[in-house]
């Protein structure tokens, strides 16, 4: 720390939790998670380019319980960051800053991302599961 005597703000622990805080924090968290998750895409492409055997290993890794959990988390992180990212792009035009609109669009991001992740995995299950 360069200078710890500086005033520290905001004091998160004294705020009442609001959906706008959650969406903002989640946007960062999912962004970092997706950045790390991009390495999975690299691994998949490398295994596909390398050999049938290594691609089979990659698919087995994703099909394992830990792999499925990662894929589920990755898909939700992607859809959330996508929905909330579109929300931020709209807000960058100056629209939607009135507090009621801000709260409503926050909930919209969360709910839309959940609907998308449910729809995606329902489709996977109907297609005979992920393998």
């Amino acid at each position: 720390m360069a200078d710890t005597r500086r005033p520290l703000s905001p004091h998160l622990q004294v705020y009442r939790w609001q959906v706008q805080m959650v969406t903002s924090i989640l946007h960062r968290v999912t962004g970092v998670a997706l950045a790390i998750g991009t390495l999975l895409i690299v691994a998949g492409l490398l295994s596909l380019a390398s050999s049938e055997q290594s691609f089979a290993q990659f698919k087995a890794l994703l099909g394992s319980p830990v792999g499925m959990l990662l894929m589920f988390g990755w898909s939700w992180a992607l859809f959330y960051h996508l929905c909330n990212g579109i929300r931020h792009l709209v807000q960058d035009t100056g629209a939607g800053y009135a507090i009621p609109q801000f709260v409503r669009s926050s909930w919209l991001s969360v709910i839309a991302s959940l609907l998308l992740v449910i729809a995606t995995w329902a489709w996977v299950l109907m297609a005979g599961g992920a393998s």
Binding site: A35, L45, L46, A49, E52, L89
Partner: protein, 129 residues
Amino acid sequence: MSADDLQHPIKRARGLGSAQSGVGHWWTQRVTAAALVVLAIWFVILVLGLLHADYASARAAVARPWNALLLIAFVVTAFWHAVLGLQVVIEDYVHTRWKEVSLLVAIKFLAALGALASVLAVLRIALGA
């Protein structure tokens, strides 16, 4: 500032700002975000279509010209956007200068390697090498 410099200090801060890079970071983050809205949705649909594909058909799908092109575009844009985002997170939370700079450089190296490895992999598949 010399005595005959009549420029107000605020003038120096405006325009390109004190970091002299202007709104480049902010704007590039938005442009890559807009591209990723389309590319990420396309990528999810591609992967869902390949759920039960065997090795040969997965390779054939990646080798199709449009898929190869969009895959490269997706991965490069994703790493680019990731670096811009991670940079802000590191600048916000890492307050020891040498750690901050090391991390900023490390994520750029990693992202460049990841993007290049992906491009090389897609090209190998697309060109049948």
